[in-house]
């Protein structure tokens, strides 16, 4: 049983302006994919959820957005924390989830297991929030697409080997597909479904 302080504490100190500031960072992140943005407000969710992931949950989740959690997150105090602070229900079904949270080191489910939206309503897809080791210092990938002038290099560390396969399959079904928020510590890197990623030649 989680302690009460874990559940009731750790939300934004200033809910209105913190949520605005975190949303602005996410909007900039999706508008200019690949840039690493440090969030201007912090949250302290129960372990093992990271602080940036917690801030995203507080900013975007509410009773309209079922949330899927990895088994480790679901076993922790996180479901109660999310329920208390956002009102969002936790769901077992990946396809019902509007948001999905994966903590650092946890296996990343295949993106096609989540809701991909429909051809008529591609916006009804899951946004995945995945915490990884670091947003820089990993294998360099070239990113192109809307929001990126020419190209940009991203080098995240801690995503599974199959990530690029998952991502190109996700890109191939455009306009359907999931959108991705990668987090590490208090920073985020957003990848909308439109971004094309390729390995750089060694």
């Amino acid at each position: 049983m989680a302690s009460q302080s874990q559940i009731f504490a750790g939300a934004f100190a200033d809910p209105v302006f913190s949520a605005q500031s975190v949303f602005k960072s996410l909007m900039d992140g999706f508008a200019r994919p690949g840039q690493i943005i440090r969030l201007g407000a912090s949250s302290v969710p129960p372990a093992p959820m990271g602080t940036a992931a917690g801030a995203v949950a507080l900013t975007l989740c509410d009773h309209d957005t079922p949330v899927w959690l990895t088994p480790a997150l679901a076993k922790s105090a996180v479901p109660q924390w999310i329920a208390f602070h956002t009102g969002a229900a936790v769901t077992d079904s990946k396809t019902d989830a509007r948001f999905a949270f994966v903590e650092k080191g946890a296996p990343v489910p295949g993106f096609d297991q989540f809701s991909l939206g429909t051809q008529e309503y591609p916006d009804r897809s899951t946004t995945l929030v995945i915490e990884i080791g670091a947003l820089s210092g990993g294998e360099p990938l070239t990113a192109r697409g809307p929001g990126i002038r020419d190209e940009v290099t991203i080098a995240v560390r801690g995503l599974p080997e199959v990530f690029l396969d998952f991502w190109s399959a996700n890109r191939a079904i455009f306009p359907r597909g999931i959108d991705l928020v990668l987090t590490a510590g208090d920073s985020v890197l957003c990848l909308p479904r439109t971004t094309r990623l390729v390995r750089q030649e060694a």
Binding site: V16, F30, L60, E120, P122, D123, T127, G147
Partner: protein, 292 residues
Amino acid sequence: MNDLATYNFSYLDEQTKRMIRRAILKAIAIPGYQVPFASREMPMPYGWGTGGVQVTASILGPKDVLKVIDQGADDTTNAVSIRAFFQKVAAVAVTTKTKEATIIQTRHRIPEEGLREGQTLVYQVPIPEPLRFLEPRETETRKMHALEEYGLMHVKLYEDIARNGHIATTYAYPVKVEGRYVMDPSPTPKFDNPKMHMSEALQLFGAGREKRIYAVPPYTEVVSLDFEDHPFEVQKFDKPCALCGAENVYLDEVVLDDKGGRMFVCSDTDHCEDRRDCGHAGHMLARKEAAE
């Protein structure tokens, strides 16, 4: 303020902002696709920019600097009242200078001065569906977007050519975004369409009555529909601005008297004032000064 109940920052309640913010993020992820959202009643009638106001209210922060234009002008009723609205409900800084603004809400022009990275342009949109006048049923237009079936739009442009010898659409000229969705750029004069292409600024579109939000991220391909033998062209003006002498800008016609007198002046008032401050003068400005 006073003892009366005060509003939440920027008027909307937090749940509404969250709902609109989620719609904006999905709109950015699917450029040109119209995301449905639960548009709220605003303290102004539909048609006065309730969609744009809801988008602006949801993205606005205390450090933002807001500019509002109605056509190109900062000083017309719609622009003045929306600016006053946000000063009242968000105590936000406002400006008429394109350079200084972080958020520019517009109906419907794009400022002449190039926008830069970090700025957000919010459009007030009356009818977001470019296919609506060709196909009134939402179920059908949605399917047409899903199947990327835009033949009807090309037929419409072709009929323009067949009747008039050229494409007669001059505003709300349809564009294709990133090679996928055909989008209504709102009733902007087609003069401004090229500015949407690879813009450095983020462009958000809000339609309050029709309950749709859509977006064009920065550095995104926005192509006006046309034909090889009838390429897209923007309006050209015979004379420069009568006040600042600017060429290659969009001009408004101003009727001066009942004897056929008229002048053509910049629609973008900030751009025109800036140029006059820098010493540029059009032929009617010169005459006015000579008379003084």
